[in-house]
């Protein structure tokens, strides 16, 4: 069942991310829905499940875009590992924790991906535009991460993966 929930969440998040338009005001920042899902798994699950989620989300994002296969997997995995390392230091149920973790992970992810793509010669985006895009992604992640957390928690409860009135813990 855990696998089914992960699959369903991945497919839904990928479809939503592909549908949402890029934010032109911030250098074409795209809503980081899949990153928010990886953070959810980093907060609520073991390292193994988080890495599975990061790999699958990365592959999906790369296949649905033009990014060379594997680059997003690396970025998601690093963001997930970072979030998991610090999850004990914060109240994972608090919106503010989700907002801050979402923002920081989005910044890490965008800058890392920018570095990788520039290194591979795949993009020619100037640094200024990349920073604008990073800022946009941070803002979008700050808004989206709590929403994705609520939705996936709701999905897990509906599918019986999590007790209806659970308040915390790491399954």
């Amino acid at each position: 069942m855990k696998f089914l929930v992960l699959l369903l969440a991945l497919v839904t998040c990928a479809a939503v991310q592909a549908l949402l338009p890029a934010w032109a005001w911030f250098g074409g920042a795209q809503a980081p829905v899949l990153l928010a899902l990886v953070l959810f798994y980093a907060f609520h699950y073991s390292r193994r499940w988080m890495l599975w989620c990061a790999f699958a989300a990365g592959l999906l994002q790369d296949a649905l875009g033009q990014v060379p296969l594997g680059c997003s997997c690396l970025c998601f995995a690093l963001a997930g590992l970072w979030a998991q390392r610090h999850r004990e230091d914060v109240d994972e149920q608090a919106y503010i924790s989700q907002i801050i973790f979402g923002g920081v992970a989005a910044a890490m992810m965008t800058l890392l991906l920018y570095g990788l793509l520039r290194f591979k010669g795949e993009i020619t985006l100037p640094v200024g535009d990349a920073l604008r895009k990073t800022l946009g992604t941070v803002l979008l992640a700050a808004v989206l991460t709590p929403v994705v957390f609520r939705v996936v928690l709701g999905l897990e409860r509906r599918l019986g993966e999590r007790p209806a009135l659970e308040t915390g813990g790491h399954p």
Binding site: R47, Q61, L64, P68, L74, I123
Partner: protein, 289 residues
């Protein structure tokens, strides 16, 4: 326990390293498999989103029947494209300018494609279409709308194709100014904060007698074998020429509304009887992500 975790992380790292270093052919197959598997859902979501928008319009009394509207929009777009082409043909006939090239101007076969979505990462100016190699859409085909050039297909799977828009900095198009026949390269320049896709045209050795000026129409030159000639790209704006006249550049206001595309045409192979497009592809039109 700690050892097991370490082994797990090392294994994950090795798998990642293998994915990052997959040969292009294998990586392309994996990418194609995921895309094709995902295409029906993406199609469903795109249709649902479009239908939602249509329903909203309907509720506001703006739109008619959804399906009829879609069919008519597609038909209208096709007819407008035909009309544009006829007008251009008439103009050319009057000027007798392209008389010798008339044989080469056989109309191409157009494949109507629906736009499924945009690049999911936002790093590229790209579109995904609902047709792929199964319907004749393959890499390096030009993509247009009745209003003008949209871009070119950079990759295609059996069921989908990805289009690099002309506003992407990696997209370069050999072009000319209709009025003065000044040649240049149109390069993508990204999107403005207002969401307007922009391009830049670079000229080398501008003819001083005719020059280039704001408002001039820019069309594809047909050189390179990817884009058919005389497809409207846009109009010049903010022309800057240096004193020697050897070098000039200008912004190009793109004719096609790249921000709101629902249907586009992939320009497939020419109809029987027309000479084949040149196979060579100059560096000017290269550059794919």
């Amino acid at each position: 326990m700690r050892d097991r975790t370490l082994v797990g992380v090392i294994l994950a790292g090795l798998v990642l390293l293998a994915i990052l270093n997959l040969p292009d052919s294998v990586s392309g197959r994996v990418r194609g498999f995921i895309r094709d598997a995902f295409a029906p859902l993406q199609d469903l979501v795109a249709s649902a989103s479009r239908q939602g928008q249509e329903t909203l319009k309907l509720a506001r009394g703006v739109s008619g029947l959804m399906s009829e509207n879609q069919r008519l929009a597609s038909e209208l777009a096709r007819q407008r494209l035909r009309l544009n082409e006829l007008e251009r043909l008439e103009e050319e006939t009057l000027k007798l300018r392209h008389l010798l090239d008339a044989r080469r101007r056989a109309p191409q076969r157009l494949i109507t494609c629906e736009v499924l979505g945009r690049d999911a990462t936002g790093w590229w100016q790209a579109l995904r279409l609902d047709k792929g190699t199964g319907e004749g859409v393959r890499a390096e085909l030009a993509v247009t709308t009745p209003e003008g050039l949209v871009g070119r297909v950079i990759s295609a799977t059996t069921r989908t194709a990805d289009v690099l828009l002309i506003s992407d900095p990696k997209c370069k198009v050999s072009a000319l100014v209709s009025r003065s026949q000044a040649f240049g390269i149109v390069v993508g320049n990204g999107v403005t904060p207002q969401g307007l896709p922009t391009c830049r045209m670079e000229f080398i050795n501008v003819d001083r007698r005719h020059g280039v000026q704001n408002g001039d129409e820019v069309v594809t030159s047909g050189l390179g074998g990817i884009f058919p000639r005389d497809v409207l790209i846009g109009r010049l704006d903010n022309v800057k020429t240096n004193e020697s006249g050897l070098y000039a550049e200008a912004d190009v206001v793109v004719a096609a509304d790249l921000g709101a595309l629902d249907y586009v045409f992939a320009v497939a192979d020419e109809r029987p009887g027309a000479p084949p497009a040149p196979a060579a592809r100059p560096a000017a039109e290269a550059g794919a992500p």
